[in-house]
């Protein structure tokens, strides 16, 4: 479970790392092209938390199943 969460966090953070430009102007990506990257970031956060939530329900359920 922890490994899965870690995997997803690393995956998502690697995406934002790829999105960075190598120019001198810093923190530009999220402000470029109509600020669509802000929407991408928000939606990524929503979907990542949704999926992590599913994983946590799954693991709680697994514990219950073992007790029964």
């Amino acid at each position: 479970m922890k490994k899965t969460a870690l995997f997803i966090i690393v995956f998502v953070s690697s995406l934002t790392a790829f999105a960075q430009d190598n120019g001198i102007d810093m923190a530009e990506t999220l402000r470029s092209s109509g600020k669509i990257y802000v929407v991408v970031a928000v939606m990524l956060l929503l979907f990542t938390s949704f999926i992590l939530y599913l994983f946590s329900i799954d693991s709680r359920l697994k514990k219950l199943e073992k007790e029964n």
């Binding site: 997803i8 669509i36 939606m43 990542t48 599913l54 994983f55 799954d58 359920l61 029964n68």
Partner: protein, 220 residues
């Protein structure tokens, strides 16, 4: 960890479809404009719904063959999950239609048949809750479920194609491939579909396991 590979794969596909679906180039079309990106989010809901209803019909048949209660429980939770995806599909389609077709419910044959199909599966849950005796409930609802599946297929894929429909690929409208000339959209669309099918099966799996636990507790 290895047993859950498909959950991780589905998650990665869905997250990929969010990033690529918003950022990759899409064909510039009149009326649709950027809303064409809804294809990556609205259509997979229906794919997931159809796959999960297929799971329901297969397990219903298996229930009638084996009388194993497990299959009945999978069938119920498949229908419940399918209803969730059906409703999300309907509402997301209504938002999209409001801004491209001019009204949230333009009485398009595909919309009406999708609504009827959803009501039909709602009737399945009503039918179940109206029967108290467990074996009878499982048997009758399995038979209802088997009959409603082909009706759903006819409603969603055959009837809208026989008349004029606003949906691509229906009633003289070209299919989506006609708009996506360089086939770039497929690189996002197919992973999105697979990802959402995986998420749907995952939710169904969780609901089924909860129901199994509840069942066990009720029998003690």
């Amino acid at each position: 960890m290895f047993k859950n590979w498909w959950k991780i794969l589905a998650s990665v596909f869905v997250l990929y479809s969010v990033v690529a679906g918003l950022l990759l180039k899409v064909p510039a079309l009149p009326i649709l404009h950027e809303s064409i990106r809804n294809l990556y989010f609205h259509v997979p809901m229906w794919f997931a719904m159809i796959v999960i209803y297929t799971v329901a019909v297969v397990t219903s048949i298996k229930y009638l063959q084996t009388n194993n209660e497990k299959y009945d429980l999978i069938a119920v939770e498949s229908v419940n999950t399918g209803l969730l995806f059906g409703f999300v599909g309907l509402v997301s389609g209504m938002i999209w239609a409001n801004f491209t077709w001019g009204s949230p419910w333009p009485n398009d044959p595909k919309l009406n048949s999708a609504a009827i199909a959803t009501l039909m599966y709602l009737a399945y849950t009503v039918l179940r809750s109206s029967l108290d005796e467990e074996q009878k409930r499982a048997k009758i609802s399995a038979i209802y479920n088997i009959f409603s599946f082909p009706v759903m297929i006819v409603l969603l894929f055959i009837l809208p194609r026989l008349t004029d429909s606003l949906h691509p690929g229906n009633g003289g409208n070209p299919g989506f491939g006609a708009y996506d000339l360089d086939s770039n959209m497929r690189w996002v669309f197919y992973p999105a579909v697979l990802g959402w099918i995986g998420i749907a099966i995952w939710i169904m799996n969780i609901r089924f396991r909860i129901r199994k636990l509840e069942n066990k507790r009720n029998q003690i």
